[in-house]
């Protein structure tokens, strides 16, 4: 089989524009939450903005990452207010506002809103990331924010550390690189996200995959067709992610190391998963479909291929092949 051709189809069936209605619902819900935050916090908050994959143009249509960064002013929760107080206050506000419409959960640095299924059965998920500028009125100039770590995030301990970052820089860094090399970096990021999505709740964050893909392109010779490039990135991750000196600098703050968002065993698991994938696809091309499946909702059937084998014109249903 032509692995690159398959991967192209995978990307095509995962295009976000194919789920326009769902995308519109996410945008609309994101705007509602944004307005609610602005109404509640008035002049204490700068304009909340979307920092998820949609903003970075790396989204896939099976999982919409809508992260709404809410940049608060330094004194929004009192001049002595702590980051924890900021996080708890935003959680309380969102919980009270949406408890009847959504599951409201405390997450690593964000507060997750998972709205109950609407009449179409669609569930909208928005993660609100509360951040606070470093000094009063400084955000306008430097766009730097401190985030609160609610619970253990890789090697970053819960409640013990603040993450200082610049989310706008993060977005533009990835978006710019992806735009420049759109046939490479963006496709690889989307494919790795498709793979991550097959794993359910995987510890490696999309942001990690975005940065590690860019780093692989910066540090390895990544050429050839789409499969060659994906393979080279996977090999880079496999060979490097568990190395002692491996770092992933946060484009929003070079002193943040995104490699710390995974524990040593999670990094080992990521390397093992890459190895397994490479080995299995090497053994049998068909295994690529397990790791990088098409979105069945938008899969185009080969009209020339008869689904069933035939026996003198009579269709023969496929036999049962697995047993217990």
């Amino acid at each position: 089989m032509d692995k690159s051709l398959h991967l192209d189809t995978v990307i095509k069936t995962h295009q976000i524009t194919k789920e326009k209605d769902l995308l519109d619902k996410h945008v609309q819900k994101k705007n509602e939450v944004k307005e609610a935050l602005e109404k509640e916090y008035g002049s204490n908050v700068y304009a909340p903005f979307n920092s998820g994959s949609y903003a970075k143009n790396t989204a896939i249509n099976t999982k919409f990452d809508f992260d709404l960064v809410s940049p608060f002013k330094r004194n929004a929760f009192g001049s002595n207010g702590t980051l924890k107080e900021m996080y708890e206050a935003v959680y309380d506000f969102l919980y009270n506002k949406y408890k009847n419409d959504a599951e409201v959960r405390k997450q690593k640095v964000s507060i997750g809103l998972e709205f109950y299924a609407d009449s179409d059965g669609d569930k909208i998920k928005i993660d609100v990331v509360p951040g606070r500028e470093l000094n009063q009125e400084q955000y306008k100039d430097d766009e730097n924010l401190n985030l609160y770590v609610y619970y253990k995030y890789g090697n970053i301990a819960a409640d013990s550390e603040r993450i200082k970052t610049n989310v706008q820089s993060q977005i533009s860094n990835i978006k710019d690189r992806a735009d420049k090399e759109k046939d490479s970096i963006r496709k690889i990021i989307r494919l790795l996200k498709v793979w991550k999505n097959t794993k359910g709740n995987y510890p490696t964050k999309s942001f990690f995959l975005e940065l590690v893909t860019i780093k692989a392109f910066d540090n390895s010779d990544i050429t050839g067709n789409l499969w060659d490039k994906l393979k080279a990135v996977m090999e880079y991750i496999k060979d490097n992610v568990t190395n002692d000196g491996f770092t992933l600098k946060d484009p929003g703050n070079s002193s943040n190391d995104l490699a710390d968002t995974l524990t040593d065993s999670e990094k080992q698991q990521l390397a093992n998963d890459m190895k397994n994938m490479l080995d299995r696809i090497e053994e049998n091309d068909e295994n690529i479909k397990t790791y990088f499946p098409e979105n069945p909702k938008f899969k185009e059937e080969d009209k020339n291929k008869n689904k069933y084998s035939t026996n003198g014109g009579m269709p023969v249903p496929p036999p049962k092949l697995n047993f217990g």
């Binding site: 397994n276 068909e286 049962k320 092949l321 697995n322 047993f323």
Partner: protein, 556 residues
């Protein structure tokens, strides 16, 4: 003197620090002699009578066929009742080499237990000789109970007979302890066993908790009743007398007396004395105008066998990881794969295991599953529960059974769009820590993939001729199984299927050995990942028998 005797004398004389006190001679059966053995640290060499059986240098029934005895050493550790040292040495088919090993073992014993007076970290049980009582051997199995007995507390015991078997050339009757009551028949402790054991008919016995072991030197249990004279309180002897007096109609029947003592601060061991109603080893005597119950000290004690069958001992030789053994497990589909998984888990320490299967066991299922012919046609769930109860006294099924299985299938497949029912099913399934779906029902596989299940869900299915076993463990289970079996990935024979007589679906061809080889490898890998605290990934166990048999596990 024959060659063997000459060789023994020659070899012994050549071993350093060993002297022949009395040269070896051929006895009626054994070759016998006396030697002295010196070890640095001894003031003088120790003498041993040595007897060598005709099988030597081979072991017989896992026992050494050479004995080194010295009656003066009885108080030391690892000395048998006849004064011989308990040794287990290396194997050798050469008499001279084996003698060298055995003498080295005697020297090691002298150093460790005679000179250094070492004590072992593990508890050594009292030695009880296995004697028949009225022509029958008796064995009693007990379990730990959540009750603390006090010294000299006594009362009644319920026990149940498990089976009557053969013990070498005699009959043996095996029993389990069911309940302890105080002297007023108020329940003290209900012993935990599986529900079938708990429903067995009850027989009665007595108990006394002595706290201290009924032994003079912590090695051998009392032989005669006179050794109990200072231990058994007068009120207990009176209790014995009243029991016997009120049971005249039961004369001649056996009555087990459980004697308990601590072997550690928290652990109790029970020994059992077999009493005969009408022939208790007691008598009345008037002392200072008062009738006292006295012990007939000349009588020998009839000890039965006892075994501590509590969980940690029962599964002491090996069990699976705690994620499985402490977990609540559901097995959906108990055909060939599912029943083997069930039996492996239950034998390996899992206790909370439920089964779902609507199917009936037929005689032709027996050859490659864990069912028995004897039970005939019956629901698979009922039959497997029975089989598991026979294996583990701790097996506790809570849900499952035929009605549950039918309801599960119906609600799951017909109400997938009903949010309330879907949520309820998710809640039920999430009560399990691990779910094995061995049904090979791809509709069920699909439906389960649409649910939010936090439990570890493992789908196991097998290809024709048991060429491969596919274990899908990840969120993409449905797609993984479909891709693996769609004919492009796994290669196996799809035509040579087994067609049962009658209108029925063909099934795969494979023997119990073929299937079990794959299932055991699968459970081994799952257990390993739990041990390593690593995430489980989809995997395929693949066999190749084109030349030598090989088996390979491929993780995805």
């Amino acid at each position: 003197m024959n060659d063997r005797v000459t060789e023994i004398n020659t070899v012994i004389e050549s071993i350093p620090d060993v002297k022949l006190i009395k040269p070896f001679e051929q006895g009626k059966f054994d070759i016998e002699g006396c030697i002295s053995v010196f070890v640095e640290g001894l003031e003088q060499a120790l003498n041993f009578d040595v007897s060598i059986s005709p099988q030597y240098p081979f072991k017989s029934h896992d026992t050494e066929t050479i004995k080194f005895s010295n009656d003066d050493l009885l108080e030391y550790k690892h000395i048998m009742g006849n004064g011989s040292i308990c040794i287990h040495t290396a194997q050798s088919p050469l008499l001279s080499e084996k003698l060298g090993y055995d003498i080295a073992s005697v020297k090691a014993w002298i150093k460790k237990y005679y000179i250094n007076k070492d004590t072992d970290t593990h508890y050594e049980h009292l030695i009880v000789s296995e004697k028949a009582f009225k022509g029958n051997h008796f064995a009693f199995f007990f379990n730990e109970v959540e009750y603390t007995f006090s010294k000299n507390q006594y009362g009644f015991v319920d026990y149940s007979t498990l089976s009557n078997g053969v013990f070498y050339k005699d009959k043996i009757n095996s029993n389990i302890v069911q309940k302890f009551y105080d002297r007023n028949r108020k329940i003290l402790a209900d012993v935990k066993w599986n529900f079938q054991l708990k429903s067995l008919p009850i027989g009665g016995g007595l108990f006394i908790f002595l706290k201290d072991a009924p032994s003079n030197n912590q090695r051998w249990i009392f032989d005669n009743w006179n050794e109990f004279e200072t231990l058994l309180p007068q009120d207990f002897l009176k209790f014995l007398h009243s029991i016997e007096k009120n049971a005249t109609k039961e004369k001649g029947k056996q009555l087990p007396l459980f004697v308990g003592y601590n072997i550690t601060d928290t652990e109790i061991h029970w020994q059992v004395i077999m009493l005969e109603i009408g022939n208790f080893p007691i008598y009345g005597e008037k002392v200072n105008q008062q009738w006292l119950t006295m012990i007939d000290g000349n009588r020998t004690i009839d000890w039965a066998m006892t075994r501590n069958c509590s969980y940690k001992y029962f599964f002491g030789r090996g069990r699976l990881n705690e994620k499985l053994t402490n977990g609540k497990i559901l097995i959906i589909g108990i055909g060939a794969i599912g029943s083997i998984v069930a039996k492996t888990l239950v034998r390996s320490g899992c206790t909370k295991v439920d089964f779902i299967d609507y199917d009936i066991k037929e005689p032709e299922n027996v050859c490659r599953s864990e069912y028995s012919f004897f039970t005939g046609i019956t629901n698979k769930t009922n039959d497997l529960i029975n089989e598991m109860c026979l294996i583990s006294p701790f097996f506790e099924p809570t849900n499952g059974g035929y009605d549950y299985s039918e309801a599960f299938d119906f609600f799951l497949k017909s109400h997938l769009t009903d949010t309330t029912i879907k949520t309820e099913i998710e809640k039920r399934l999430n009560e399990y820590d691990v779910i094995f779906d061995c049904s090979a029902d791809n509709d069920l596989l699909y439906v389960l993939s649409q649910l939010k299940i936090n439990s570890t869900l493992l789908n196991l299915s097998i290809s024709n001729h048991a060429k491969q076993l596919v274990c899908a463990t990840e969120q993409n289970r449905y797609e993984f199984i479909c891709t693996q079996f769609n004919g492009s990935v796994l290669k196996f024979d799809i035509d040579d299927l087994h067609n049962p007589t009658g209108c029925w679906n063909p099934t795969f061809k494979a023997s119990y050995n073929d299937i079990n080889t794959l299932v055991q490898s699968t459970i081994k890998h799952i257990n390993l990942r739990f041990e390593q605290n690593k995430a489980l990934r989809n995997f395929v166990v693949e066999t190749d028998d084109t030349d030598c048999f090989t088996i390979k596990l491929k993780e995805f």
